[in-house]
Amino acid sequence: MAIVAHHSRFSKIAWPVLAWIVALLFFFPIFWMLLTSFKTDADAVKPEHLLFFTPTLENYANMTENYDYWRFATNSVIASVMATAVTLFVGIPSAYAMAFNPSRSTKDMLMWMLSTKMLPAAGVLYPMTFLTKNILGIFDTHFLIILVLSLINLPIVIWMLFTYFKEIPRDIIEAGKMDGVSTWGEIREILIPLAWGGIASTALLCFIFCWNEAYWTVRLTTTDAATLSKLIEGNRAPEGLFFGRLSAVSTAAVGPIVVLGWFCQKQLVQGLTFGAVK
C-alpha cells in the first residue's frame, strides 16, 4: 500500500512537471518569434538582446505599409474558407456514400485516396507549374489555389468524415429512407445534424491545413493569389539580416490560426483523436 501511495504521489508531481517542460519546449520558438518581432533587425541577431531590448512596432508598421499584409491575409482567408467549403461539399456526400452504401471496393478506394498523400509533392512540381502556367493559364489565381487546397485535403477530410459517419446507427439512416426522404434530404435532415460535432472538427482542421499550406501556395502564386505563406517566404533572406521583419510577418500570419485554435481547442482535440475515444 505504502509503495503504491508513494508511487502515485510521485507521479502526481512528476507528470505535470514533465508535461509543462514539454509544453514550454514546444512553445519556446513561438515565444521567441513573438519577442523577435518587436526587435529591430539589428537587435534581433544580438545574443545580449535575447530577452532585454527596447521594443518597437517598426516591423509591423513596415509590414502593413510596404508589404500590403492585408492583401495577403485576405487571400489566405479566401483560399482557406473556400477550399474548406468545397472540400466539405464534396467530402460529405462521398463519405456518406461510403459509410452507408459501401461496395466491395470502398475499402480499396479509401486506401487509394490516402495513398495520394504518400506521394511527395515535389514529384509533380514541374508538371503542375507547366500545366497551370503554360496550358491552362490559371497560374496565380484564386481558382487554382482553392482547387489545389481542396484536392490535397479531400482524402483526409473524407477519412475523418467517414469515421464519424460510421458511428451513426445504420437504422436511423434507414428509418429516414422508410420515412420517404430523398438522398439529399437524408444528408441535410439526418446526417449533418447528427454528425455536426464531427463535421465541425473536420472543417476546423481542414481550415488550419489550408491556412498553413506553403508548398503549393508559394510555388503556384506570384502576387494576385499569394497567401500569407508567400509573404513569409518573401521576407526570408539567407543572410539572416531581416529576422525582426520576418518574425513580425510570421507572427501576423500564424496569429489568426493560433487564436482560432485556442478558441476551438475542444473541437480540435476531438477531431484529432477521432475514433480513439468513444
Binding site: 446507427p169 437504422d171 436511423i172 434507414e174 428509418a175 429516414g176 429512407k177 422508410m178 420515412d179 420517404g180 426522404v181 430523398s182 434530404g185 435532415e189 439526418i190 445534424p193 447528427l194
Partner: protein, 334 residues
C-alpha cells in the same frame, strides 16, 4: 389496400445465397408474422420487402405494382425497427411529424395527425421531449406513432419488442394487436419469439435458412406441423420427439407428442419413467422425465396442483389422436 406478392425472390450476399427462390402472398389487411431462429433470413426478407436490401432476382409486387426497383421511400410502407431508430436530434413531436413533413403535408394537417397519434399512444405529455429522455416503451410508441401518421399501405415490424422487458412486451403486444384490429392495415411482423407469433398472427410464416418451412394460421401450425422443424419450433414447451420401436409400431420414423398431450398417472400408463426435474409455474407444472427408453428426456405438462419429486416413478399415456407422425425425411405423415 396492401396486398404484397413475392415471386421467385432470391437474395445473395456475395457468393452466399441467404434466400433461395421464394414465393409468398400476403393478403390485404392480414397480420403476417415471419418467425424462425436467428439467422434464418426473416429480417432479410422483411428488408427486401421494405426495399432496404435489393433483391438478387425475382419480383415484389405491392397492390399489383411491381416495386422491385422502387426505392424504399417510394414504396409507401412504414417500418418500426428493433432499435426504434428515432431521430435523436428531434423532439417526439418532430419525430412523429417527420414523414409528413417529407411528404409535404400542411402544418395544420401535421399537427392534427401528431395529436391524434399522440393521444392513441399516450404520448401527449412527452411531445416536446427528445428520445434520449424517454423510456424504452415510450420510444417504441414514438416509433409506432411515426409509422401510423403516414397512413402506409403496410406496416413492417422488425423484432420491435425484443429490447423491452417482459412485462412491457406483453402490454405492447396487445397494443399492436388492437391497433391492427382497429386499422385493418396489412402488417408484417418479424420475431424469433414463437409466443408473439402465436398470439398476434393471422398467418405465420416459419423460416429456416431462408426457406419457408410452412405457412398457415397459428392453430394450423400447432395442430398439423408439416415437418419436424415446424413441430419443434411452434409450441412451448417444445414437442417431444420419439424414435425407435415405439415409432415403428405406429409406422413412422419419428413420433411427435406435445407435453400438454401426455397424461400422467402414478399407477398405470403406456410409458414409464423417472422424474428428474419438476418445474412449478403455479398454473402448470413441467415434468422432465428420464429413463423412459423413448428419448433422453420427455417433457410433460400437467396442472399446477400435481407435485412429483425428483426420482419418482411415473406412468405416461399420450393422447393418441394428438400424436404426430413423421417419416425418415422429417415430413409429416397424415
Amino acid at each position: 389496400m396492401g396486398r404484397i406478392l413475392l415471386e421467385n425472390v432470391t437474395k445473395s450476399f456475395g457468393d452466399a445465397q441467404v434466400i433461395p427462390p421464394l414465393d409468398l402472398v400476403i393478403d390485404d389487411g392480414e397480420f403476417t408474422v415471419f418467425v424462425g431462429p436467428s439467422g434464418c433470413g426473416k429480417s432479410t426478407l422483411l428488408r427486401l420487402i421494405a426495399g432496404l436490401e435489393e433483391t438478387s432476382s425475382g419480383t415484389i409486387t405491392i397492390d399489383g405494382l411491381d416495386v422491385t426497383q422502387v426505392p424504399p421511400s417510394k414504396r409507401g410502407l412504414a417500418m418500426v425497427f428493433q432499435s426504434y431508430a428515432l431521430y435523436p436530434h428531434m423532439t417526439v413531436r418532430k419525430n412523429i411529424a417527420f414523414p409528413m413533413r417529407m411528404a409535404g403535408l400542411s402544418q395544420a394537417e401535421q399537427d392534427k395527425r401528431v395529436m391524434t397519434a399522440a393521444k392513441s399512444l399516450n404520448l401527449v405529455d412527452y411531445l416536446d421531449r427528445k428520445p434520449g429522455q424517454l423510456s424504452g416503451g415510450q420510444r417504441q410508441r414514438v416509433a409506432i406513432g411515426r409509422a401510423i401518421v403516414r397512413d402506409p399501405t403496410a406496416f413492417l415490424f422488425d423484432e420491435p419488442l425484443s429490447n423491452l422487458d417482459a412485462a412491457l412486451r406483453v402490454g405492447m403486444r396487445l397494443e399492436i394487436s388492437e391497433m391492427h384490429k382497429r386499422m385493418q392495415t396489412t402488417m408484417i411482423y418479424v420475431t424469433h419469439d414463437q409466443v408473439e407469433a402465436m398470439t398476434m398472427a393471422d398467418k405465420i410464416v416459419v423460416l429456416q435458412a431462408g426457406v419457408i418451412e410452412q405457412v398457415g394460421s397459428p392453430l394450423e401450425l400447432y395442430r398439423s406441423p408439416c415437418n419436424l422443424f415446424v413441430a419443434g419450433f411452434i409450441g412451448s414447451p417444445k414437442m417431444n420427439f420419439i424414435t425407435g420401436t415405439e415409432a415403428a409400431n405406429r409406422h413412422a420414423h419419428t413420433l411427435g407428442v406435445r407435453p400438454e398431450h401426455i397424461a400422467v398417472s402414478t399407477q398405470t400408463g403406456a410409458w414409464t419413467g423417472r422424474v428428474s426435474v419438476s418445474e412449478h409455474l403455479g398454473s402448470d407444472t413441467f415434468l422432465h422425465v428420464h429413463e423412459t427408453g423413448l428419448a433422453d428426456t420427455l417433457t410433460v405438462r400437467t396442472n399446477g396442483e400435481i407435485s412429483f419429486k425428483h426420482g419418482d416413478i411415473i406412468h405416461l399415456t399420450p393422447r393418441e389422436e394428438m400424436v404426430h407422425r413423421f417419416d425418415a425425411a422429417g415430413l409429416r405423415i397424415s
